[in-house]
Symmetry: C2
Subunit: 165 residues, 2 copies
DNA sequence: TTTCGTGCAAAGGCTTTGCATAGAT
DNA sequence: ATCTATGCAAAGCCTTTGCACGAAA
């Protein structure tokens, strides 16, 4: 059974930067300034993000280290291929999160404040695999998102109701 | 534990057509030919579908019962609101399935043949609710998709390998 | 010097919207 | 008669692509 503590990191021997370097070399691709810069930015905090929120935080056109939108898209795809990031769809857009250095996990999604809460559950994995066996299905991955309202939003709502009395 | 049998229907007192009629009346909306026609078509078979595959099966422009693309989109949204259909995202597009008259379930998705296989799991629901309690999260719904390769595709692959020997 | 990567502009895929007309109640 | 629904064309949103130039190996 999982507990409610924040997700623990997993020990990894290479930095994301080094790992991506290796990935690129293995495919005969080049490690450019843009790619290095984006790896840095993407791994500078553990929040989930979408392309727009990432680009908002990057230098604008004309500034130092500007990276164009197509290049951001291309880089993110490479990060996913390299195992640095995972990508999933939420409300129509792609959401990215750290994969490298973090364990397999699933999400609670608060439809009030859009927060994504990570959790791990071994039992979830067991059931997944049992279901697969029953259907003679060979599993490669899964995606579980539990939607609802988080604690903070429930509290806020309750507080507001009390204030009205 | 769920078994591997196909999904059983759930007893409902109204036909989809009747249920949608009620829904429209409750919202002061009108039951048009297009809506009735689409309800019929959508409930004529239990397969999952996306907008394009649905429209392909509908009459073309100029023919009897033609329904325009925007109207199809608008109707599908209403069917979801009315509880007739459920909608989820798969590989970037919206996929629809019957909700009214069918139990809550999840999916195995074969990445080889794009087949969606439905399954129910009470244990899955239990774990979902346990996780939610641990995080003081109020659940409204969830979406689980297990990706991998289905039995048929595994067999085909094996067969092909044998043939090569 | 060869190849790959980048930025630009433009296009693509799916979905939604504004608007005038047609239709339901 | 009133007000919603439809079809059309156009726009929106997110993402990808073709191409010429620039940069890495």
């Amino acid at each position: 059974m999982s507990d409610s503590a924040p997700l623990e990191k997993v020990a990894v021997s290479l930095t994301p930067q080094e790992r991506f370097e290796e990935f690129l070399q293995s495919r005969g691709q080049r490690n450019t300034e843009q790619r290095r810069f984006l790896v840095d930015r993407v791994f500078s905090n553990h929040e989930h993000f979408d392309v727009d929120s990432l680009i908002e935080q990057l230098p604008r056109k004309g500034q130092e280290n500007y990276v164009s939108r197509p290049t951001v898209y291309r880089a993110l795809k490479e990060f996913v291929d390299a195992g640095l990031l995972r990508c999933f769809q939420l409300e129509g857009r792609s959401v990215y999160e750290h994969d490298y250095g973090y364990p397999q996990h699933d999400h609670l999604y608060c439809t009030r404040c859009q927060k994504l809460i990570e959790f791990t559950s071994d039992e979830m994995m067991k059931i997944r695999d049992q279901v697969a066996v029953q259907h003679s299905f060979r599993v490669t991955s899964h995606r579980l998102i539990i939607q609802g309202v988080c604690q903070d939003c429930s509290r806020r709502r309750k507080k507001r109701k009390q204030d009205l009395i």
